[in-house]
């Protein structure tokens, strides 16, 4: 027997949550019901609760249909599994596209009448809504397994070994209802995703009927989502999770073109790589941007699966011609920059650490872009000294004062400036990783 009971969207016990026109979206039937309301012109305002993949995809598609959309997320940014700077980049894009996003606030209930929901009650006031989509997360359907005496894992999903066998002989389990193993940590994790469910299903099916045992050691939780003109992808551990797991991590944030810069149609992507400081083992990656993100995230997922370190990743022989990639692909460049940091060739600061340094006035932020670029938008409190004027104007930068943080658009000019200032005897210098391109906070 194979238990494949799947997972169900979680409906929180909020006041009046059973009002009409409050939906979850899991099945095609749900989607049809939502679409019908929109088709009939009944939806002017929508509230989406939850900033995970489903919530964001619904928000985008309602927006495409001309609906005024407000999305709530309880934690401080959308895409909770992602690191802050990547998630905020995606969040800014959603906002630019007109989705009203409110984070760090809570939906507490609903008001309405027999016709359906009218208002959403939140920690920041009431919001009118003709429709509400709840996308707070899913839970594994385990009641059948539980009542049969089948053991559950620490995540609450059904515990199986790598052959998809439960603790009861001849009962297998597969799909969204089973617990997985994270390949990086070797620990239990739960990834209710089609890509993982199909693997476990195939293995359970084969092992049920054949003596040729198949098995799954684990997965990386590799995911990707399209959000208007960008996509965001992730594999392995986030920086936050890696630290929680006890790794001493080194990270890097590198914007790059996805194809040759002279090839029309190339787009920018930002790669974040997370590695173990001691062994240089690659622990995870996140990629966001308008360009192609699925190819590099799959490359890195493959590398992590086979235990790659940064040195190995930086030398992968990847397909290159200008319409497809750059001579040194974004993944290789990210690995090389991280190795440069590790080898003390350059010091960097992640954008998420900069706002606090600006407020506390601990940093001297020097923007080395051209005057016109600085004029368009710049980091608050930063001063502009274009790279070509750096030597003649370096007297304006205090040598023994605060940390000098160099900013350009992607990092290349900041690196040149870093070398120049180091040569001039500046000791405490860093570059802003990701430059102005990946800086997701307020600009002036």
């Amino acid at each position: 027997m194979i238990i494949a009971t799947g997972a169900t969207l979680f409906v929180p016990p909020l006041e009046n949550v059973d009002l009409k026109n409050i939906f979850t979206l899991r099945s095609v039937t749900d989607a049809f019901a939502i679409r019908e309301m929109v088709d009939m012109g009944q939806v002017k305002k929508a509230v989406v609760v939850g900033g995970g993949f489903i919530g964001l995809e619904v928000a985008e598609n309602l927006k495409h249909r001309g609906v005024d959309v407000t999305l709530f997320e309880l934690v401080p940014h959308i895409l909770p599994p992602f690191d802050e700077e990547i998630a905020l980049y995606a969040q800014n894009h959603m906002k630019e596209k007109g989705v009203n996003i409110i984070t760090g606030e809570k939906v507490t209930g609903f008001e309405g009448d027999s016709e359906g929901v009218k208002r959403v009650i939140t920690s920041v006031g009431n919001f009118e809504a003709d429709i509400v989509i709840l996308s707070i997360g899913v839970r594994p359907n385990v009641s059948l397994a539980k009542s049969a005496g089948i053991e559950l894992g620490v995540t609450g999903a059904i515990k199986v070994n790598k052959f998809m066998e439960t603790n009861i002989k001849d009962i297998y389990a597969a799909g969204d209802c089973v617990e997985n193993v994270n390949l990086v940590t070797g620990k239990a994790a739960w990834y209710p995703m089609g890509s993982t469910s199909n693997k476990t299903g195939r293995i359970a099916g084969q092992n049920c009927v054949s003596d040729l045992k198949d098995s799954l050691d684990g997965v990386l939780g590799t995911t990707i989502v399209k959000l208007f003109d960008i996509s965001a992808a992730k594999t392995g551990l986030s920086e936050r999770d890696a630290i929680k797991e006890g790794f001493e991590v080194e990270t890097v944030l590198v914007p790059m073109d996805d194809r040759a810069h002279y090839y029309p149609g190339h787009k920018n992507i930002i790669t974040k790589l997370i590695a173990d400081k001691k062994t240089h083992r690659v622990l995870g990656a996140q990629i966001v941007g308008e360009g192609v993100t699925d190819k590099p995230i799959d490359t890195i997922a493959t590398a992590i699966t086979f235990g790659a370190d940064l040195e190995g990743l930086s030398k992968l022989d990847l397909a290159y011609a200008p319409p497809f990639s750059t001579a040194m692909s974004s993944t290789l460049v990210a690995a090389n920059v991280l190795l440069n940091k590790e080898n003390q060739k350059v010091k960097g600061i992640n954008p998420s650490k900069l706002p606090e340094k600006i407020v506390s006035k601990e940093a001297n932020v020097v923007d080395v872009r051209e005057e016109v670029e600085f004029f368009i938008s710049a980091i608050p409190e930063s001063v502009n000294i274009p790279i070509n004027e750096l030597e003649s104007r370096c007297g304006e930068i205090d040598k023994d004062g605060k940390t000098v943080i160099l900013v350009c658009k992607v990092g290349r000019r900041a690196y040149t400036a870093y070398k120049k200032l180091k040569g001039l005897g500046y000791k405490d210098v860093k570059i802003l990783e990701g430059g102005s391109t990946a800086y997701p906070y307020e600009m002036k």
């Binding site: 920018n268 051209e370 005057e371 016109v372 670029e373 368009i376 658009k409 992607v410």
Partner: protein, 74 residues
């Protein structure tokens, strides 16, 4: 009123916006400048720049990966 054309195809950041800045600086009020760019960051830059300077973004279109912007100097 003069009409000017800048071919900034193939130039990387900050090439295109710097070229445009120089041309606009040396132009008269009412001059129309057309620039073609393949750098992917330009589209956002040009919109923000026009908004801040008050120069008019007459047209902005993207074709086969190249951006063509038409600007009228304030």
């Amino acid at each position: 009123m003069a009409e000017k054309f800048i071919n900034a195809r193939g130039l990387q950041c900050p090439g295109p916006i710097v070229e445009l800045f120089k041309t606009v600086k040396s132009s008269e009020s009412g001059d129309v400048i057309t620039i073609e760019v393949t750098d992917c960051g330009f589209k956002k830059d040009i919109a923000a720049w026009c908004k801040k300077t008050g120069n008019e973004l007459v047209n902005l279109e993207e074709n086969d990966g190249a951006v063509k912007a038409v600007i009228k100097k304030l």
